[in-house]
Amino acid sequence: MRKLKELVIERSLLLSALITIAVTVGIVLVLSIEAVNFFSEVSIIDFITDPEWTPLFSDKHFGILPLLSGTLLTSFIAIAFAVPVGLSISIYLSEYAPKSFRRTIKPLLELLAAVPTVVYGFFALMVVTPFLQSFIPGMSSFNSLSAGLVMGIMIIPYISSLSEDALHAVPNSLREAAYGMGSTRLQNSFRVMVPAASSGIIVSIILAISRAIGETMIVAIAAGQQPRLTFDPTVPVETITAYIVQVSLGDVQHDSLEYKTIFAAGITLFVFTFLLNTISYRIRKKFQEKYE
């Protein structure tokens, strides 16, 4: 009796765990079925090489490059801002700051990631862009710079918190060894701690990149909705995510071309984040083994 009960419980717990697999399968199926439909109408070569993305206009082009460049540009700006700042914060918090300071400041910083992104979009559009325009004349009111910077603010805690965790996880014995040899805190940080925590730090950066690439509302609101192949941060661009939102705001009729394009765009996004996630998972696994 008791054994049976235990078995039933175990099976239902397992079932719950398997639901997560179903979700992934669902995502992959949904995206690929619609994408296959899409690619039966549009050649994959065009999709990858055509420099224009105008699927909704009468002269249709289906080149993902403009959306991709918009995505990469905004993400690059965000990362370029967030990595140095986030890393410095993590090193400061883990190697310099008193514990009590760390304890209060960490959750406060994490609030930066908790702010709903639609709010950040508002911030970028209403505050940051006008501010930047005051010393970058000719800057468009939709641009990747301000969206990227604000996105950078949003992802700071991903880097600072996770890198701090990684630094914190380095056995204290290494820290003691370094200090015991007469290192300053800076030498200890950069010569011993950062190399020892490098995998965790890399994971945090990858996660931040993946967040930036998948971020939607900030870029949909503040970066503009104009797919163009450019790396000029002062003009409007459109990201993959913003495109999906743009189309979704209208009616997305099943079987229509618009419907398929958002799935084609979606699968591109998915592939990118999937690769990043897989890499970071691998690194994380290795890293865990190191200190167990």
Binding site: V23, P116, T184
Partner: protein, 284 residues
């Protein structure tokens, strides 16, 4: 001698830089919140909370969006919680290290990194179209539930992990079965941690906009949902809608609604941090 001096100086310089960076994030947050407060605080009153949407900014309120958010949160919790906690218990307490557990693990870590808009596409196809839920509260809740499922699982696992192994040892050694150990010891002991994770997950769900736009949540819904199949709007969508209105009055409304949304998010985060601190002490 000189070298040691120089090293000390560099050390001090980095310390100052570190403090600067740390404060930079916070100051930006403060500037931003200050800005919004200036824009919106005067707009907030009881009427603003209780009014229906309106074409006149000064008459418009967030009642329906707020009720929509509450509905979505409740349903999302109902859906994600049992599944998430059960899956976490399975992975942490039952599964042996084998192919399946590795697959599950990789899979969950991947799901956690899937952009929210992709969940929107999944919800659109599966819940809205195939299961014919339409752009209903239920479809939205299912979509968000899948979105936060990995977060719930990961944080529940962390909470279970934090229960010292000695508690499991003690319980097993007393002749308790696996489920008895989970039910009598592990769940009560990790309750604080699980709660923390769930509140954090929900505070993420309450701010999600993109997936709900994708599944087709509406712009003008002048009534609160009364069933799970009703159409709905939520706070972030209402904000998005107001940001995109031309009249200045709506920008004020957006700011005011943002204050309320931030308040909800921050309070949830605060509660979560409180529980986390309280709970972490238990095992120290």
């Amino acid at each position: 001698m000189n070298n040691i001096r120089k090293n000390r100086l560099k050390d001090q310089a980095f310390k100052i830089w570190g403090i600067f960076c740390t404060l930079l994030g916070l100051v930006l947050l403060a500037v931003f919140i200050g800005n919004i407060l200036v824009d919106g605080i005067m707009r907030i009153d009881w009427e603003f909370v209780m009014n229906l949407p309106s074409r006149k900014p000064e008459k418009a309120g967030i009642y329906t969006a707020l009720m929509g958010s509450i509905w979505v949160l409740l349903l999302t919790t109902l859906i994600a919680l049992p599944v998430g906690i059960a899956a976490a218990i399975y992975l942490e307490e039952y599964s042996k290290k084998n192919k399946l557990s590795t697959i599950l693990e990789v899979n969950i870590s991947n799901l956690a990194g899937v952009p929210s808009i992709i969940y929107g596409l999944l919800g659109l196809e599966v819940f809205v179209r195939i299961l014919e839920m339409g752009a209903s509260v239920l479809a939205g809740s299912f979509t968000l539930a899948l979105l936060i499922l990995p977060i719930v699982i990961v944080s529940t696992r962390e909470a279970l992990k934090a229960v010292p192994k000695s508690i499991r040892d003690a319980s097993f050694a007393m002749g308790a079965s696996k489920w008895q150990t989970v039910y009598h010891q592990l769940l009560p002991a990790s309750f604080g941690g699980i709660l923390t994770g769930i509140i954090l997950a929900l505070s993420r769900a309450v701010g999600e906009t993109a997936p709900l736009i994708v599944i087709g949540a509406l712009a003008y819904v002048p009534f609160a949902p009364s069933s799970a199949m009703d159409e709905f709007s939520v706070l972030p969508i209402q904000i998005f809608n107001w940001i995109t209105r031309p009249q200045h009055g709506f920008v004020e409304n957006a700011a005011a609604a943002i204050i309320i949304l931030l308040l909800i998010t921050f309070v949830m985060n605060g509660i979560a941090v409180y529980f986390r601190n309280k709970w972490q002490k238990k095992f120290k």
